[in-house]
Every structure is written in structure tokens, then in C-alpha cells.
Subunit: 282 residues, 2 copies
């Protein structure tokens, strides 16, 4: 029914336009539009709009979308260049430029003119930061899924949980986003013969953070990996999760339920709960 | 000198405040502040400010920072809840709320009230999307660094380049950000005995995308990994990069220089140049 309804709903085309990568325009624009989830949108990102010729092309795309949709498009822009911003304002679309709206009040407050340099926000400003990030990714890979359990000295955090509860993507996200050294250790049936903390983790108690998940959700995820296996059965999932949560309680390991959370949310909550400092300066 | 200078510079404390994760506030706020890179800032992210008690705590932090710095803090906020936004406006800080500023014009344009629901933007709205993302991360890990070269049928893209030119973090970023299936294949000295495309790549010509990097930068990166090795010598770096770039030219593989680009920028440029569609709906 919902699908039928959508067929008769007008679609709006949303443009994310930037003279940089467009990542910021996309992030903020999508956040705002998530508040209108009853409506249907088509998305188009146009990055590196930094010449008059590209503005012209872009405006042609916008007007075409207007024609097709019968409703004017909406532009979310992050344009450092004022001239480009002014040219784009002339299209028929609703135009919202995040940078132009906030740069002026910031200039007044800070008593400095902005550098009006495109690409500063996501560029390799800082070689040290670049290396920190790469090293954090390498660390997450080397210490993924218990691949390396002999020495967690360098770890900022060690995520612990049963197979497929979200450990790996969370570690990679923590590495890429914050430059954090995140290892992860999977609780396996071998560990479950004892109610004690696995020996390799005992010295790193303060770095441990647990992840748990709803058993039914886990079953679906595991079923995708190994259909109809014992591994994916609801009983196995329930048993393993019960063991894991008991361990978290007994050993006083803080932990988080991941079922209704996205990777970004899991990472953000871990940062709050553990007070780990991000290693990246930007 | 620069450091001495900074000692006498007043520092501003920047608060990223949200009733959600704060990721959007942080992204946009940092983008804006990158335009004032002559100034020195301290950052503090306060997510999940969703009760009056938390607003009170937050305002106390803000006023303390004002006292310490001698300059009023700046708040970048993404607050869905209007009441929370209004309460926070009463602090001494410069207050900029990205959501409140843009939600009204959007409501007028779209003819709908926003849902005013916190956490929609980064939440697990869509189970299919969640699985797509996880599967893409798993794919990137399974096909990282030539770990699996027998079958690239599922790949959306195969990044090709010499060791340490940025392939792995780019693949992981493409997976996490866009749900794209990104494999990567390292060009090794074994491949360099021939000027032809490695056999395992020959059937996937259209999926190939090259990465290159400045030889001096590569030398520094490799030196961190294996100090004073032949692998890290400038000569090896130059030879390998020359071989790789010749291959890209001869085989008409599009490629990108990564030296001055961040992972976000490399990923954004690849998306434009290859016209790959993101697999995630949000």
C-alpha cells in the first residue's frame, strides 16, 4: 500500500552542491530531510562546482529536474565562493547554503575574515593526522576478530561480543572517524566453557567494552552468512548472548545494545561512555 | 615560533551540541571553522542533550569555558527539539543551530510539518541498508590487499596500486559511507616482471581504478612501516610508481593522485569519475 501511495506522490529532487567534495552538504541535508520521512526524494550530489561553466551545467540539471518533477528542486549547498553561491541562487530551486548562512556571523564573532579556501574541511591539512588515521585503520585490521590476541597494549579500546554483533564495522568506523586504536575480540564457544574472562583479555580489563544485540536480529544476520546452520539457529544465538551478557555483568564490563543503533550511534555512545579522546585534531 | 605565538592567542571553546549523536553538528561546525585556520580552538562534543537536566549541565560547562578562555564559546547545534534549542540559546555563547535555521523554510516549502524526531538521521531506519553496509564492509575485508583474487564478479570497483598508496582505507570508507563493494589489488614486484595487466584482473578491466602517490610521500609512509628497508627506499618507491603509472596509461585505467587528498576526497572523486551508484538509500 505504501508503495502504491508513493507512486502518486510528487517526488522532489534534492541537490547537494559544493565547490568541495559535497560531503558536508550531503550529511547535513540528509539529516534535515530525515525529518520529512513521509515524503519521497531523489538525490543528486554535484561536487567541485567551482567554475562558471560548471554552474551553468548545474543550473541546467536543476531546471531539467524541475520540469520532470513538476515541483521545484531543493538545493543544499556548501559553497565557500560567494560568486558561485550568488550565481546558483538564480535557479528556480529553493536554495540553502550552509556556509554562506554561517560564515558571516562567525567572521563577526571571531574578528577575522575566513580564508575562503575550498576543500579545507576534508583535505589533507595535516600530515600527522593523515598518518594517525591510516595507522588506526591498520591497527583495526591487524586486531580484528581476535586475529591477534597476544598484546593489546596499544589498544584504546577492545570491543568484546559474540560473532556478528557489529564489532568489526564499529572498530573501522572508530579508526576512520576518530583515529582510535580499536581491537575486537569475538566470544566463541571455546570461551564459553568457562565463566571467566578469556585469559588474553585479563590484563586489559579497563579497555574492554561489550556489544550485545537482540537474539532474533542476530539470527537473521547469521542466517545471511550461513543459512540454516547451528551457528545461525535462534537457540545458539540466545545461548551465546546470554553467556556474553552474564560475562559483562560479572566482570563489570560496560556494554551497549546495538540492535536499534547505527554504526555512527554505537561509536558516538562508546565515545561518551568510555571518555576516550579522539586522536585526530580535526 | 608558531607555538610561542599560540601561547598568547586566546583560545575559543567550540561546543558541538545535539539531541542526537552530534555527528552532523561536528561535521558542519568543523567544516566552517576550517575557514579560520589562523585561530586556535578547543573542541567539545556533547551529544544526547535531551532533558532539562542535561541542558543545565551543558550550560554550566559553557559558562565555565567562558570563564577559562576569557572569550565566549561558540555553539554549533543540531537540535530537533525546539524547547531544548530555546533553553540553550540563553547561555552566553554564540549559538548557531543548523536544524532550527533550516527546518522552518523546509516545512514551508514542502507543505509538511517535520516529524521532530531525534536520531532519525543516523539511526537504523532501514534494516536493508544496515545489512548492505555490513556486507560491503565484509566484502572490503575479504577482498583487501589481494587476499582474494579469483573472483571479482561482485565488486563494484577494484582499486589498483602499489603498497601503501591508500587503497585499504579508501575501500573501507567506500563500504561504510556508500555501501559500495570495493576490492583492492596491490601491484607487487611479482607483477612488475611483465608490462601487462595481472592475469586475475584481465576480465575486470572496467572495474579497475588506479591510485598513485608522490614518491617522497610514499617513502615516508613505508619508512614508518619498515624503517630503512629496500621496500621503503626512494628508489623502490619511484620504480614501483613508474611501473604502476605506465600500466594505468597503457591499459587506459583511470587513476588518481592521492598525495594531497584525504580519504573522503579520494572517495568523492572516485564516485564522480566512475559514476558508481551508492548502494545505501540514505
Amino acid at each position: 500500500m505504501n508503495d502504491n501511495y508513493k507512486e502518486f506522490t510528487l517526488t522532489r529532487t534534492i541537490f547537494f552542491i559544493s565547490d568541495g567534495t559535497g560531503i558536508t552538504a550531503e550529511t547535513l541535508g540528509r539529516s534535515l530531510l530525515s525529518q520529512f520521512d513521509m515524503l519521497s526524494f531523489e538525490y543528486q550530489t554535484i561536487p567541485y562546482v567551482n567554475t562558471k561553466a560548471k554552474v551553468k551545467q548545474t543550473i541546467a540539471c536543476i531546471e531539467q529536474a524541475y520540469k520532470n518533477d513538476g515541483e521545484r528542486p531543493i538545493i543544499f549547498a556548501t559553497l565557500i565562493n560567494k560568486n558561485i553561491s550568488q550565481l546558483l541562487q538564480k535557479s528556480s530551486a529553493l536554495f540553502m547554503d550552509f556556509f554562506q548562512q554561517f560564515i558571516n556571523p562567525l567572521e563577526n564573532e571571531l574578528g577575522h575574515k575566513s580564508t575562503h579556501m575550498v576543500g579545507l574541511s576534508h583535505g589533507v591539512k595535516n600530515y600527522t593526522d593523515y598518518m594517525k588515521r591510516i595507522n588506526a585503520v591498520n591497527y583495526a585490521l591487524a586486531y580484528d576478530d581476535g586475529a591477534n590476541t597476544t598484546n593489546y597494549d596499544k589498544a584504546d579500546i577492545i570491543l568484546v561480543g559474540v560473532s556478528r554483533c557489529g564489532k568489526t564495522p564499529t572498530c573501522l568506523y572508530l579508526a576512520l572517524q576518530f583515529g582510535i586504536y580499536a581491537a575486537n575480540y569475538p566470544l566463541t564457544t571455546d570461551d564459553m566453557t568457562s565463566t571467566k574472562l578469556p585469559a588474553c583479555l585479563a590484563n586489559y580489563r579497563k579497555k574492554l567494552f561489550g556489544l550485545s544485540i537482540d537474539a532474533n536480529r542476530l539470527q537473521i544476520i547469521r542466517h545471511e552468512r550461513r543459512p540454516n546452520s547451528v551457528y545461525a539457529s535462534l537457540k545458539t544465538c540466545k545461548d551465546e548472548l546470554k553467556y556474553a551478557e552474564n560475562l559483562f555483568h560479572d566482570e563489570k564490563i560496560p556494554y551497549l545494545e546495538t540492535t536499534t543503533r547505527s554504526i555512527e550511534e554505537i561509536a558516538a555512545e562508546i565515545m561518551i561512555l568510555t571518555h576516550i579522546k579522539r586522536r585526530l585534531s580535526i
